[in-house]
Subunit: 195 residues, 2 copies
DNA sequence: CGGCAGTCTTACCGATCGGTAGGTACACCG
DNA sequence: CGGTGTACCTACCGATCGGTAAGACTGCCG
């Protein structure tokens, strides 16, 4: 028996269901049933559904970030190759039935009507965090003035994730990887700063 | 008095609410109240909530497409300038409070759990339609072998839309516009086909 | 042992969900 | 005139929504 705390178990179940079906599509009662507890227990730990949602996304933050950056950290060669590995990884993920894109993008979309909702703020923060990581990563690999380029690639990557999910095909992420390569190589050719 | 048919009025109200708050967040009863009709009337015209959702997205398809392409059609100069106008338009839209990104991306995200849902299929179709339009547009403006480039730019654009919405700032779309320029100019330099 | 804190329970709340049975009001057609 | 079809209504359905009051169980500390 794997001795997981109740809180952890609820969070794990909620994460799976929220990611699989969408946050709004999953009721509290479903989470409780799957986690083998009763509602007041969930409310004891998380206070509200919004509290659970916030905990879910906070929990995903570093996990998703690690999953995204890992291919780049493992790859070698010039920056363009390493960044392309991120896109290739998305392309491969798109084939898996269970892969449904980025939980933050989807979460933010679900709460478009509530501007200050935790899901929106956590999504925004998560994306800024990735952008910053990428700027540092590019910098470490010899790219001059990496911040604008990091922003371009971040935007491109989320487009790739979205389209890979939308069409259920890796081709879009792979083509985006080609674009990423072109952008990085072009940046380098231009001396690391825009004309 | 602007003599609109009941069906049109329901669709207009549903469109506004679905876009503003999210599809799942809006109940049928709310739509009926705002449209000044009763539930059976709505079910008379649309059959089910899913029917209404499908009608909503079908209705948006050409409108959104027209809104996206219009800046490019109005702009002049080389292809890079015209495509950049699309991104600039998104950047300007991001400032408006009521702008909430792409209804298709958001709709697809809300129904991530139902692979064959109309929202998913219509979103996928809409994106393919835009990609095809862009390929033709690039072709007309002298870009050789435009299809891969059109795909890259389509992915980039949706990333721009998503990030503009996510952060509520046009800066991301504007930076993506720079990337679009770089990709188009690089493509041309490379002779219109990849190395 | 008594008492307290934390954990998790049974049993329930009002509101809202998507959807429907059955009928009325009216226009058009013969 | 009667008949038919469309548009729209009142009134209601069971299920589920997010959330809570109040208590039982358990282990720890004195």
């Amino acid at each position: 028996m794997v001795e997981t705390s109740t809180r952890e178990r609820i969070l794990a179940v909620a994460g799976e269901l929220f990611y699989r079906d969408g946050i709004r599509a999953v009721g509290i009662e479903t989470v409780c049933r799957e986690a083998g507890i009763k509602k007041p227990t969930l409310y004891h730990y998380f206070g509200s559904k919004d509290g659970l949602i916030a905990a879910y996304l906070k929990d995903q933050d570093e996990k998703v970030l690690a999953g995204l950056t890992e291919p780049a950290l493992r790859a070698d060669g010039p920056a363009a190759d390493r960044v392309a590995a991120i896109f290739e990884n998305v392309a491969r993920a798109a084939r898996r039935e269970a892969w449904k894109g980025c939980p933050f993008l989807r979460g933010a979309a679900e709460f478009a009507g509530e501007r200050d909702h935790a899901a929106r703020q956590l999504a925004s923060g998560h994306k800024r965090r990735f952008e910053r990581w990428l700027a540092d990563f590019l910098d470490e690999h010899g790219v001059i003035d990496p911040k604008p380029l990091a922003r371009q690639l971040t935007v491109l990557l989320d487009g790739a994730v979205t389209h890979a999910f939308l069409h259920g095909k890796g081709a879009y992420a792979r083509e985006a990887g080609n674009a990423a390569r072109a952008l990085i190589e072009g940046w380098r050719r231009a001396g690391g700063s825009r004309a």
